[in-house]
């Protein structure tokens, strides 16, 4: 309780001081909320907090930036909140390729076109990994088996999320290859499932994979255009004749209709943040390439990413039991049971 009220007081004081000192400044005149559509402590949350820490440390903005974690449903709950937020520049969203994949998969009926993009900051490579004692020595062997025995290799993914799409790009890059997809959740869960032999293959970002590479798993390929600096010995998929390119980029979005001068301010700010030594050093640690796109360049990146998804074939996973109706039936049965007991007493 104490921490919370202190925090609230701090916020109030911040707003108050801000109002006094920045009355002349047009924007921002109050704290800016950054919606992170995932739980506190996750990869995206950490990424945003590194940026906000740099803004604070280098005193780049007259107003504080505040993280608001709205997690759930693969980021769509948070992105919907941003979609419906007031377009005044005081609420923005940081969401990676999940913005594209959720729409393509059908988990969200909005997508990149419904927002005003501010900037893209940083790209992570994606690796395909198997367990250490797996029979597959390289990606070519794995994909050949996926052609020879379609729908038999179990691929652990988070359905509708970017790591699912990495696998779809793999299938696309090797005609005839088919995986059997299963839901395994975030990176840490995928590691446990891979180690336990519950899935045959899965994907990680380079940052997720790096600490685990000596823990009994082995990468087969990286899905980047050229080898990643952090993993110089790991060949790309293209080197192994699988035409698949995929990576994870972090995008900053404003609700559609946000005044252009405010978007321009945020764009300039993000560029300054990106150039700070703090951010450069931390991104290097996380094996994030410090790519930065704004303006026409950014539009081209978004266009290309949206088009890449067009060619992908989606297959919904095996039919699942209608658990909610079964539960309703079970509750009905129990009610009858309780009612009859009540009568017989």
């Amino acid at each position: 309780m104490t921490a919370f009220s202190l925090f609230r007081r701090g916020m109030v004081a911040g707003v108050f001081l801000g109002a006094i000192f920045c009355a002349a400044a047009p924007f921002p005149e109050k704290p800016i909320t950054v919606i992170v559509p995932f739980a506190a402590g996750g990869g995206s949350d950490t990424f945003v907090r590194i940026f906000l820490k740099a803004i604070r440390e280098h005193d780049l903005a007259p107003q504080p930036f505040v993280v608001k974690n709205i997690g759930g449903a693969g980021g769509t709950i948070g992105s919907r909140a941003a979609l419906e937020a007031k377009p005044d520049g005081y609420t923005i969203l940081c969401l990676h390729d999940g913005m594209y994949t959720a729409q393509h998969y059908g988990n969200a009926d909005w997508g990149p076109a419904d927002f005003t993009p501010i900037a893209a900051t940083g790209r992570s490579g994606v690796v395909v990994a198997v367990v250490e004692n797996s029979p597959y020595k390289d990606l070519a062997e794995l994909m050949a088996d996926a052609v020879a025995r379609p729908y038999q290799l179990v691929y652990g993914t988070n359905l509708g999320a970017p790591n699912h799409y990495s696998a779809l790009f793999l299938q696309h890059g090797k005609p005839g290859a088919k995986f059997r997809f299963t839901q395994t959740g975030g990176g840490a869960k995928r590691l446990a499932q891979l180690k336990g032999g519950h899935v045959d293959v899965t994907g990680f970002s380079v940052a997720e994979y790096e600490p685990f590479k000596e823990a009994g798993i082995r990468a087969l390929a990286v899905l980047s255009e050229k080898r990643e600096a952090a993993l110089p010995d790991l060949p790309t998929a293209r080197e192994q004749e699988v035409d698949a390119i995929h990576g994870l980029m972090q995008f900053w979005w404003a609700p559609k209709g946000t005044p252009p001068d405010r978007v321009a301010y945020l764009e300039k700010l993000l560029r300054q943040v990106m150039e700070t030594s703090t951010v450069q050093a931390r991104l290097a640690q996380l094996h994030v390439e410090p790519e930065f796109h704004v303006g026409d360049d950014l539009q081209a990146v978004i266009q290309e990413r949206s088009q890449d998804l067009e060619g992908l074939q989606l297959e919904k996973p095996a039919a699942l039991p209608p658990v909610h109706w079964l539960v309703l039936g079970f509750v009905g049965l129990c009610s009858v049971w309780v009612w009859r007991e009540g009568k017989s007493v």
Partner: protein, 485 residues
């Protein structure tokens, strides 16, 4: 490891964390998760070791503080304290709140210490073991836990199952846990996420209780007599030794499993204690063994949940995920190499489990005498305060008014369920475990290509399902209902 805690700063931070944790744990409506999420940004400016120590201390404090409100008000601060309400509250009502608190506090300490020992010495084998459980094993484990609900508290088997089933049903609206599709949201955007745990929990227990008191159904509270003290004599602990160790062990073991740990840990320990007890009929009426089992197990799950984090870099709980984030923000690389690269961070986590548990014991035992007096505060004073706390807590969670509405609605449901003698604890456990069961069943089916066979061909899964069937079918009672939920 202990040298770390020779520093007064770290000791002070642990004390602060434990104190804040106990406070939020004890106030209905506030939770440890909330405290930790608020504290996380503040720790970014601290030394990594200090930040980890503070966060772990908060977690230990919050899990322990939950026993205060569970015992004195019958309002569990977290689902992990639900089982404590079953016996702690009746004992407090019978004029022995101090004794109930003392038992809970002592058991919490033992649970914490046992899990600390496992965290320190057995992390690697236990983490390896936990990866061998696949989706089908998780599903069968939850079914086993739901079958345990049938024998809970004073209610009949049918009522336990019905209450559990209703809890599972309440978890259905919102996003499908495996496919991400929406169901039963009736085009209400606010329902996309389903009902959140905290509003449901506060609503069922706190608001339901308040409604109950308002309608005047409540009896008189016995005044505490002179012999009621929180200092539980050594002799009592000796008779509880087996129960303590068994419950702590179960809590640690089950705590390792992400998503199910804390809740199933205390449920399993409680039901095992009831089975082993010479006086099972006392369970649900103020049994000492019940309090000890639940509290030893829920504190043991704290250490258990940190095991996969230390050994594999996989978070086993909410605190695990937050600690993982804290490590990354501070530039430490979580994962199996953490031990080699940053041993001081690992020792900070392990050490603070130990130190925080000891401090929790001292703080709570020292304060128990005063805390116990709370149960003598007149209802006219207590109720408005608790109501305000609940309203604020539900709102503060996400700043959404809909959470307050959900809380009030579940308050009415909880109140009606009590009238119908349906155990609330079973409802909450069903609600918490339903998404875990469904996600794992669906993940398993996707991996097996739609075949249910692994449920019975995988040995561990088969054993757990047989266990569930035995629990449901034993004794004379009527037919066993469908367990495929």
């Amino acid at each position: 490891m202990i040298e770390l805690f020779a520093s007064p700063t770290l000791l002070g931070l642990t004390l602060l964390g434990v104190f804040l944790g106990i406070t939020v744990g004890a106030v209905p409506g506030l939770t440890g998760t909330m405290l930790i999420a608020l504290a996380l940004p503040l720790t970014f400016t601290m030394e990594p070791v200090a930040a980890l120590v503070l966060l772990v201390a908060m977690y230990v404090g919050a899990v322990s503080g939950g026993l205060i409100s569970a015992t004195l008000l019958r309002m569990p601060g977290t689902p992990a304290a639900v089982m404590t309400t079953l016996d702690g509250y009746p004992m407090a009502r019978a004029g022995r709140p101090g004794r109930a608190l003392g038992l809970g506090i002592g058991a919490s300490l033992v649970g914490g210490l046992v899990s600390w020992l496992a965290l320190w010495q057995l992390s690697e084998p236990m983490a390896e073991w936990s990866t061998r459980l696949g989706p089908f094993e998780y599903f069968s484990l939850v079914i086993l836990a739901l079958a345990l609900l049938a024998g809970m508290g004073e209610s009949t088997r049918s009522r336990g199952l019905l209450a559990g089933g209703l809890g599972v049903l309440a978890a259905m609206p919102g996003v499908h846990p495996a496919t991400g599709e929406l169901r039963w949201t009736f085009d209400v955007t606010a329902l996309n996420e389903g009902f959140r745990l905290i509003p449901v929990l506060i609503g069922m227990f706190a608001i339901g209780k308040i409604l109950d008191d308002l309608t005047g159904a409540d009896g008189k509270v016995e005044q505490a007599n002179g012999e009621d003290g929180a200092w539980v004599p050594w002799k009592t602990w000796k008779t509880q030794a087996v129960n303590l160790l068994r419950s702590s062990g179960l809590g640690t073991l089950i705590g390792v499993l992400p998503g199910v740990g804390a809740n199933v840990g205390s449920l399993a320990a409680y039901m095992t204690a009831k089975r082993a007890s010479k006086t099972p009929e006392q369970f649900g009426k103020g049994s000492e063994e019940g309090i000890v089992a639940s509290e030893a197990a829920n504190n043991a799950t704290v250490g258990g949940a940190l095991i996969p984090l230390i050994a594999l870099g996989v978070p086993g709980s909410v605190i695990g995920a937050v600690l993982l984030g804290a490590l990354i923000v501070h530039g430490l690389q979580p994962g199996p190499l953490l031990f080699r690269q940053n041993p001081e961070a690992v020792y900070a986590i392990i050490g603070s489990v130990l130190v925080a548990n000891v401090m929790m014991f001292a703080l709570m035992l020292g304060g128990a005498r005063w805390i116990a007096r709370l149960s003598a505060v007149p209802q006219q004073v207590m109720m408005p305060v608790i109501t305000l706390c609940c309203l604020w807590g539900a709102y503060a969670l996400n700043g959404q008014l809909v959470d307050v509405v959900v809380m009030l609605a579940f308050g009415v449901i909880g109140w009606r369920m009590e009238k119908a003698k349906l155990p609330l604890a079973a409802f909450v456990i069903g609600f918490v475990l339903a998404p875990v069961a469904e996600e794992n069943l669906c993940a398993g089916l996707m991996a097996s290509g739609g075949s249910y066979a692994p449920l019975v061909t995988r040995p561990l899964s088969l054993v757990m399902l047989i266990g569930a069937a035995v629990l449901l079918l034993r004794k004379n009672n009527v037919s066993a209902p469908d367990t495929s939920s």
